[in-house]
Symmetry: C2
Subunit: 289 residues, 2 copies
């Protein structure tokens, strides 16, 4: 029997009003706002509010209340961190994240079919995912876990939990912009997976965990891991040209060069390129980030 493997290219399944990509013009739009405007005029917290509530916070109080919820939700159970410490030390961070996001359901099983409960779960995911990542980063490097600091922004708190040092405002802003740029990317493979799982009425942690699984593949978010491996392999600027030529001669792929959906230029790359330059100069100046 012949099997078909047509895939979903060109097939309309559903769409999303959360964000959209104008591939021809190289634009990514969240809820009607160009991401380039959002990186200039908003924070990750405000962008998250926009994505969740379909409007920007109009009063300071709305934003303050939302921030307070995000800050409060940063902790994960100590028991979970203890379990992480029992894990195999060289476990892949994406596998850890998939497992522990799914595990959140064991601790935070808010009611299912209710908009407020869904927002609560979303806030838990936004705030606890960085804590899971940072906890594992510290554990696998044999370091003490650092508790969240409620005086810091989402971006600064993550960098603090990772490194133990509070970042300066420039680094904080750069990372905040990175988070804004990655907050949504329309109907990609991980979003599709999350919707597929949620469509059976499985809960949001289950759906997000599954989405992280899809994201881990090297044809999706895993491409970033491959880029990092590539950079470490190349090692120095002087070796770039030879390395690239070698790859091209052997007809090998070079990971991470553009997203197929953009016909012109990935608008995120435009911003990130400039930020990388700033960070590189900065780290030369003071020997560290």
């Amino acid at each position: 029997m012949e099997t078909k493997n047509i895939g979903l290219r060109g097939i309309e399944v559903a769409d999303t009003k959360i964000s959209n990509i104008d591939g021809e013009k190289g634009k990514l739009i969240y809820r009607g706002f160009d991401i380039l405007d959002l990186t200039k005029n908003s924070t990750f917290e405000e962008t998250s509010y926009l994505l969740l509530y379909d409007k920007l916070p109009t009063k300071q109080q709305e934003l303050n209340e939302f921030n307070a919820k995000l800050v409060e939700a940063r902790y994960i159970p100590k028991q979970m961190q203890k379990n992480m410490a029992n894990w195999r030390g060289d476990a892949d961070p994406m596998d850890m994240l998939q497992a522990f996001v799914s595990a959140l359901a064991g601790y935070y099983d808010e009611e299912f079919s209710n908009k407020d409960a869904s927002i609560e779960k979303a806030i838990n995911l936004i705030s606890k995912v960085p804590t899971i990542i940072a906890s594992w980063q510290r554990i696998r490097n044999g370091l003490e876990i650092i508790d969240p600091d409620s005086s810091l922004s989402h971006a600064a708190n993550f960098l603090y939990m990772m490194s133990g040092e509070k970042p300066d405002t420039e680094v904080e802003k750069i990372f905040d912009v990175c988070l804004i740029l990655h907050a949504d990317h329309t109907f990609n493979a991980s979003t599709f997976t999350a919707r597929q799982v949620a469509s059976t009425r499985a809960h949001m942690y289950s759906a997000a965990s599954a989405a992280i699984g899809a994201l881990s593949g090297e044809l999706h978010g895993g491409a970033n891991t491959e880029v990092m491996k590539m950079l470490l392999e190349i090692g120095e600027i002087d070796k770039v040209e030879l390395w690239i030529k070698e790859k091209l001669v052997h007809g090998e792929k070079i990971m991470g060069m553009g997203h197929a959906v953009y016909k012109t230029y990935d608008p995120r790359a435009q911003v990130l390129k400039e930020l990388s330059r700033k960070l590189a100069v900065k780290s030369k100046d003071n020997g560290s980030i």
Copy 2:
């Protein structure tokens, strides 16, 4: 902006040659064999071999070697069981399974793109999933975990790890048939999720974990959980008629009554109904199963 939510009903994405359903005739076919024939003439181990290798084992030695691999793969790391014991005691078994199947990757990270490694991962999944389920079942009931018994079949070993008692051959056979009936069900929501995750080149544990997430939803495998809740709620045979009438009067759904894909009768139900009757009689006879 209006959003579309068309879903995949009637859209051909891909198909599978592992199994197919003839909804009109009420038939489920694995690799060309009617499941009714497989329940009569094969074991779960032989059916697994058929699904994995696209043929039934023709020599006893082939089957013996396959069985030996399945038996050897039954253990999970003690560390994983220790972590389970640290979990919240009332965590949902499906959430536990999703988390710990994903966690397997931290322990068994066989190479990716190689048929043999894929078979090895599949064998790990077939053999370790029952051990994960049984470990959690024991832990959450405050009981000692029972190690797999290599002298028992797949079906008997699972029942033994769950209850601590070796089942008699009739109960073993009944459960073996249940496993055969549930070994595959073509391109359903969980299989679709697994393929979606695997299509990004994420590894098989990640894909299976995501599939378990999809399965947990009450519009998929979670329907079984709802049926169990319903049975516990009804409590006694005498109360069935009134309970059903009440539900119908209020226009409520009654869970688990048939699978939409079958126009006539779910062929699995045909077998399961008879087996339930046998088990019920048996448990009346000796006061337990």
